[in-house]
């Protein structure tokens, strides 16, 4: 689904430079990219979407070479949820907002679009006549997500989707995304919240200073102390607790497992 081959990219006078990175993401995977600020995480997500073109190397997404394909064409296959949903929202009502992308990209008739929009409104519990900018931050984020899901993307790129959300809104958002992933949508998520990454992502890439330090299953990467330290990232609390307790506790990832083990002992 996503293939980075020896990709390098440089900004003028800004951090986020990428140095010769390569990785593959298969269809249906849920991959999180973690690292400190300026590591290049958002740069990777924008290179994937084609918003940035690599200076060297090649990026292929859903079979398309991003250097040779327009972003608006890539958008037919890939949904990008920005950190600030206000940048994506441009219509007067939630109904029009969700239908906006469908009108731009899908080529469907007005009736088909209207039917699909009503389905999504019902699924997400939105009122179609609400003004998007009058909703709370979390609800605006969900509207932005819904407007991307309406296009049935093969790949969803999320740039820090939980920023500014309270716990309830965060869980609503992530469960909706996990459900899409279970239905076969590939997810690439940039995230600073390690607890969310541990609970939802199957695979993690750690980045620092434009390079990939580690790439593997989520819990495994979180237990790679050297890579985590080099990237200035703290693993989730349960992983830290398991590491300190050692022994049979070292492999525990979640609270129920830890509680069960502690009760046994």
């Amino acid at each position: 689904m996503i293939a980075f081959q020896n990709v390098s990219f440089e900004y003028e006078n800004q951090s986020g430079t990428i140095h010769d990175i390569s990785f593959h993401i298969k269809k249906g995977e849920f991959v999180a990219i973690i690292g400190s600020n300026g590591a290049g995480k958002s740069t990777v997500s924008k290179l994937t979407m084609g918003l940035l073109k690599p200076l060297s190397g090649r990026v292929r997404v859903a079979g398309l070479d991003t250097k040779k394909t327009k972003v608006s064409q890539i958008a037919a296959h890939v949904g990008f949820l920005f950190q600030n949903p206000d940048r994506q929202i441009c219509q007067n009502t939630v109904r029009e907002e969700i239908g906006f992308g469908l009108k731009m990209v899908s080529g469907k008739s007005e009736e088909e679009i209207a039917e699909q929009v009503e389905q999504i409104l019902a699924e997400y519990g939105f009122c179609g006549e609400d003004a998007p900018f009058s909703l709370s931050r979390g609800e605006r984020q969900r509207v932005a997500l819904a407007s991307l899901i309406a296009l049935s993307p093969e790949l969803l790129i999320l740039d820090e989707p939980t920023t500014g959300l309270d716990y309830r809104e965060c869980m609503q958002m992530m469960h909706a995304i996990k459900k899409l992933n279970a239905e076969g949508v590939t997810v690439l998520m940039v995230c600073h919240d390690m607890e969310v990454v541990l609970d939802f992502a199957d695979r993690v890439l750690i980045m620092t200073e434009g390079r990939i330090l580690a790439d593997g299953a989520t819990a495994e990467v979180f237990r790679n102390e050297e890579a985590m330290k080099a990237a200035s990232v703290m693993p989730p609390q349960m992983i830290q607790l398991g590491a300190r307790l050692g022994g049979k506790f070292a492999g525990v990832n979640h609270i129920p497992e830890m509680v069960a083990l502690l009760k046994e002992n």
Partner: protein, 258 residues
């Protein structure tokens, strides 16, 4: 580099009082508007480049000229198309059309460069302080002037980010068709306006909580006392405008002046 970014340096222009630089820029603009010959507009342009060189802002000015080149090219073409007086040179292009196009284009370029150079060589806070301390302007109004300039690059960046977000949704901002591009402006207007209003609101609250209304005439930290260089600069500016007026009356009718 942004056209409105301050360039840190220690030159005679940087040491001048901000009001002197503003006065010089205004006088240069007036001079550009008054003069009506190819020679004087070219001399103005070269003079501005010299000031930029002395003020260590030449790379920024050249970057600005590059950005203005498309708009100036547009003005040039329009002038050539609509002014048909004089002798025909090629198809519909006449000598008077060419001269007029050059003068109008250079006027725009010179005026924009003069005003922008003030911002390149003056910090916004120093300009605001000078307006309050030396001109007696209320800080509220001085703040409005400087904040308007400060927000231009911020809103420009915001617009690019919104265009990026909309392109990622399938809006074809990456089209090569300029007419189609203009039609697509609407999807960026709503988020840009709302974000600008939100930003203004939160900036106002932030300023208020940091003592905005406690400010007095002497609250500014840095001073730029008027010195001989300021007087010389202002005198030269006034003489320049006078020279432009006399040039228009006595030099322009001469046969070798176009």
């Amino acid at each position: 580099m942004g056209a409105l970014d301050y360039v840190e340096a220690d030159t005679v222009f940087h040491r001048m009082n901000p009001l002197t630089k503003l006065f010089l820029a205004v006088m240069l603009c007036v001079g550009c508007i008054i003069t009506d010959t190819v020679l004087t507009q070219t001399l103005f342009f070269l003079g501005l480049l010299l000031i930029a060189k002395i003020g260590h802002v030449l790379p920024n000015v050249l970057s600005l000229l590059k950005k203005l080149s498309v708009a100036c090219g547009f003005i040039l073409v329009l002038q050539i198309l609509f002014i048909r007086q004089g002798n025909d040179l090629f198809l519909f292009i006449t000598d008077k059309g060419l001269i007029s196009a050059y003068i109008v284009t250079m006027r725009v370029l010179n005026a924009a460069t003069a005003m922008t150079m003030v911002l390149m060589m003056t910090k916004m806070t120093d300009l605001a302080n000078a307006l309050v301390r030396n001109l007696g302007m209320s800080y509220r109004y001085a703040f409005i002037v400087t904040t308007a300039f400060r927000f231009i690059p911020i809103l420009t960046d915001e617009m690019h980010e919104i265009m990026e977000a909309q392109t990622a949704r399938g809006v074809e901002f990456d089209t090569g068709n300029p007419i189609k591009k203009m039609q697509l402006v609407l999807p960026i207007c709503a988020p840009l306006l709302i974000n600008a209003i939100r930003r203004t609101d939160s900036s106002a609250v932030a300023a208020e909580t940091r003592g905005f209304y406690l400010r007095t005439r002497n609250s500014g930290y840095k001073e730029y006392p008027f010195a001989a260089r300021d007087l010389i600069c202002m005198t030269i500016s006034v003489l320049l405008v006078v020279a432009c007026v006399f040039g228009n009356i006595y030099l322009k009718p001469l046969p070798f002046v176009i």
